[in-house]
Symmetry: C2
Subunit: 205 residues, 2 copies
């Protein structure tokens, strides 16, 4: 396995496979096939076999995949066979929704700190967390050795906060602010903007 | 222009260009270059020229692009030179965040109805809307001729609601439920699941 060579588009499908396999496991299934998994996630069986074979031989011809084993392998590949602490920056409506989101449990992530710049919000509770002053973000994140951040600040503040996150040693940012961030190559970013997703659909309507 | 032939990956970049051009326009800029736009969105100048040229000749060599003209053309291509009414299904934390989200304005979308199945929520207000009973979703959406839906229901309810949305004539679904939906080919879907985005980054850490 040479992870440098695996196209990002394949990496992007693995979390979808993982999610579907987890649902199969939750419903008591023990084995699956590339056909069955493919139908669940809307990808061809051949593509699934090809994607998974990039990382080794995880299935047996004729008997399919052990769900538990494949889950374990995918978690290992995606490095979510551990819990990543996450810093949430922005305690607005979206920040609240994420702080209360139940979907992180058992999927590798846990919010451990929440920041905002609004003096009225600092010190208030959001879910289980006390909102901290974004002015202290660099030292707090460094001290806690957090590597992942979710950004739900307004677009106008996002680049400035990003620079502090990079300075604090953050290596991955999930950005909800509707703006493309400028950051060093060694920091990964993923974007969630409902409007760009909607516009991608209306093209076809 | 033959829209059938344009790869989906290009379509996926157009909303990002549109967003960046809108920010340029908001800050008073009149013209831009593929170089400048590329730096803002993290795409090479050559790729931008190639993407945009799929739809015609919108820039002049040496003088670059008129921002207003390119905005107008991109809105036309993405069919967001109009306002699409959107039905929101699920009035939980994420539904609240979306109902209150200011980022839809001037970008082509407007939430016009909100549904939930929880008897305690039905009749309550969320932002400017009264939450309606999901039991009436098919007739309400048909009557209002809404074509786009955002789904923020639990994963366990998502497939069932999707079938009702398809029946109601919905043509595009933005799905926040952490599950792959099974639906007819003529209905478009886009997925927003923070965990799959996070897992796509941890692979590289």
């Amino acid at each position: 396995m040479n992870s440098d060579k695996i196209p990002d588009i394949i990496i992007g499908r693995l979390p979808i496979y993982l999610r579907a396999l987890q649902r199969m496991a939750d419903s008591g299934l023990k084995t699956t096939s590339s056909q069955e998994l493919g139908e669940l996630v809307g990808v061809s069986a051949a593509q699934i076999r090809k994607d998974i074979s990039q990382f080794g031989e995880f299935g047996k011809q004729g008997t399919g995949y052990s769900i538990t084993y494949l889950l374990e392998k995918l978690r290992e590949i995606l490095k979510v066979n551990r819990i990543w602490d996450v810093a949430l920056i922005g305690a607005g409506d979206m920040g609240h929704a994420l702080a209360n989101y139940q979907g992180f449990a058992n999927r590798g992530f846990k919010i451990v700190m929440v920041f905002d710049s609004d003096k009225e919000k600092i010190g208030q509770k959001i879910g289980d967390f006390t909102i901290e002053d974004v002015a202290h973000i660099v030292e707090k994140i460094k001290a806690a050795d957090v590597k992942i951040a979710m950004l739900t600040v307004p677009a106008s503040a996002a680049q400035n906060v990003t620079e502090k996150l990079v300075q604090a040693g953050i290596k991955g940012i999930l950005n909800y602010a509707p703006i493309t961030l400028n950051m060093p190559n060694h920091v990964k970013v993923q974007y969630i903007d409902p409007v760009t997703h909607l516009q991608r659909m209306t093209y076809y309507l």
